[in-house]
Subunit: 86 residues, 2 copies
């Protein structure tokens, strides 16, 4: 299962569709976001995806954790979001 | 139970302590954030609070939803975060 990499310009609704698709297939989805604008897009996408999945009787919750990632030579703190069935 | 209003300058660690305290007392906590910087602080605070609460055997998850709030005369979209035991 791939990690969905969220950027500041990721359209929330498209990302929501991707989250819902991965949850339908795998029961969970993983996202990674670096920086406030990306984190915001990820959260909005999950709020939208919850609406999509609720229509199918699937309720998901979000588990945010910190992770360290290398961007070029630089180590950065990212937020890892696990979206999973309650 | 009060809603924790998160601002762009809310220190994540202090907010995490508040979340953990409310979850200990009420089993859940509610936060509200408007704008990317506030949403980011809220998410970081939950990631930190998860660490605090795990030490006590409490696992929490996050449920983000959209809500509309009035700021003066203006209606804005906010993110409502419910932090609750899994």
């Amino acid at each position: 299962m791939d990690v969905l990499r969220v950027s500041a310009t990721s359209p929330a609704r498209m990302l929501a569709g991707a989250i819902a698709g991965v949850v339908r297939e795998h029961g969970r989805a993983e996202m990674q976001a670096i920086g406030a604008a990306s984190v915001n897009q990820a959260v909005k996408a999950v709020a939208i995806a919850r609406g999509f999945l609720e229509l199918e009787g699937i309720e998901v919750v979000l588990v945010p954790t910190f992770t360290r990632v290398m961007i070029g030579d630089e180590e950065k703190t990212a937020i890892r979001f696990t979206v999973e069935r309650r």
